[in-house]
Symmetry: C2
Subunit: 306 residues, 2 copies
């Protein structure tokens, strides 16, 4: 069992290759070629924190991957990173633990940002120029960079509840810190990245034809979008059962506003692209699936195992 | 993040202390003081193998534990150990991964054997002298040793489908390899430890008043006991929801032979012992719960962290 620390992991990753691998993972998932573990989740109250455990095996692969990731939002107050965790690469033929990629949550951050970029590419209107990012944490910054770069967007707007953090993120990103209403009015594509448990974006704020990638609702109780907004939108989901269980889509399905059968899985959308009408509101609800971890960890490990 | 290998882990464990810790874990679980993760499971067909991921946090503890354990039954044919895996010890206040205890599945084996001994102590008839062990794998051997030692049993009988393996185990254990019928007729307490998916023990084989600890049914589809046997027995379970989902108890509940409400949780039985009538058949259905992993890993880590 090799233990690989973060710098070596990052050095082994190529962004374009990783994007392609994660995209392929979504296709395989929707094609029924991935065995997915039940998601493990522990929630802590004081201080508040989360632990997610996800695992999956892509049929035929020599290895499977189980990922543990923690987020403790008050860590920065104590000078600690918010996230920690690892991905275990395990032989699918002997069960031997081949490697612990001690990515400290970073591969999760990256594959989440990559899912955002992949979904954004599928749902963005042609000619989109302005990106609006809601949230100024790690995920907000990563999405801002990767989505803008991948889609070739020209302008990035940032909003966060904490104006000072928003300003700081905007400076770091060469972006513009704006009011939430201004962000919604100007952005062609909005990415929401907060751990909110109450809706932040309302239907009134968002113009018809808006394209929204929501990555915050990764656990039960979390939500960033008002029901009136998801209820009127076409909904793309990374995993139908998981998004119904705890994504933005779940709130809409439970409220009877959306039929589960109408949810479009991202992997299906990648395999059979849809040209959405310009005035259709489209929401991509990304809760994070184990196959993303598998794909990115495999890629790193393939290089590292050499 | 420290990585601790097996010899150091084993050296840090004291058997009596670990037994007490696991027992305390069952009490805490039944008292509602444990946050348990959904069990993660992946199944492999060729070669056949399993991966289980379990995690739990005992309220108030400074750490939680997530365990990954694999079993690939054909590994020995290639000169490999059947099991591998690790337990991750993670801070419940910062999410920092403090340690990977690379126990290679051994702590799982030990805590499973300890649960067997704890359950056996709760359900054995006073004056029990003869132990019958079904299965001659690692778990069969561990249960044979630990249950006999903990309960002070005098004679151990072993049966396994593979007579040569049974004979070998019997020699190693100072036990007697016998036919299954003879084992059932003579044993005061039977422990079943196979990965069977079809019943091995039938109601006819087992005398009234038999006490059975069944540890094999740790995943959907597995079972060692005939329905006619569990249907007539008092059923003790390590976790009510988990045993209903995939233990021996689940088969009986789904068949309408047993009411879920009549299942007795081991932790409740430890807190409020029951004196079973001598002619009552009692089955302890142990599917393995994350709190066992937490308790044994915490104990090792407390010593190792110094």
């Amino acid at each position: 069992m090799r233990v690989i620390e973060l710098p070596e992991i990052l050095a082994a990753l190529d962004e374009a290759e990783a994007l392609a691998a994660v995209e392929d993972g979504f296709r395989r998932l929707s094609a029924g070629e991935v065995q997915v573990m039940a998601v493990g989740h522990l929630a802590f109250g004081d201080p508040p924190g989360d632990c997610h455990v996800k695992g999956a095996w892509v049929a035929g692969d020599p290895v499977f991957v189980v990922k543990l990731a923690t987020s403790f939002y008050r860590n920065p107050q104590a000078g600690l990173e918010t996230s920690d965790g690892f991905m275990a690469v395990v032989s699918a033929t002997t069960g031997e633990v081949q490697a612990i990629l001690h990515d400290r949550g970073r591969l999760t951050d990256l594959r989440t940002a990559m899912a955002g970029a992949i979904a954004a590419r599928c749902i963005a209107r042609p000619g989109a120029k302005v990106l609006g990012v809601v949230g100024a944490g790690i995920q907000g910054r990563l999405q801002a960079e990767l989505v803008a770069r991948t889609l070739g967007l020209e302008t990035t707007l940032v909003w966060a509840r904490d104006a000072a953090r928003a300003a700081e993120a905007a400076t770091a990103l060469g972006a513009e810190a704006v009011a939430l209403e201004a962000l919604c009015a100007r952005a062609d594509l909005i990415v929401t990245t907060t751990p909110s448990t109450t809706p932040i974006l309302t239907a009134d704020m968002v113009r018809p034809g808006a394209r929204i990638v929501a990555v915050g609702a990764d656990a039960p109780g979390k939500r960033e979008l008002e029901l009136a907004l998801t209820g009127r939108a076409r909904l793309v989901v990374d995993s139908r059962p998981q998004c119904v269980a705890h994504g933005e889509a779940g709130w809409a399905v439970r409220a009877g506003l959306v039929d589960e059968a109408d949810l479009i899985e991202l992997g299906d959308l990648l395999a059979r692209p849809i040209r959405f009408a310009d005035d259709e509101t489209v929401v991509a609800d990304l809760t994070g699936v184990g196959v993303q971890d598998v794909q990115i960890a495999k890629l790193a490990w393939r290089r590292l195992a050499g």
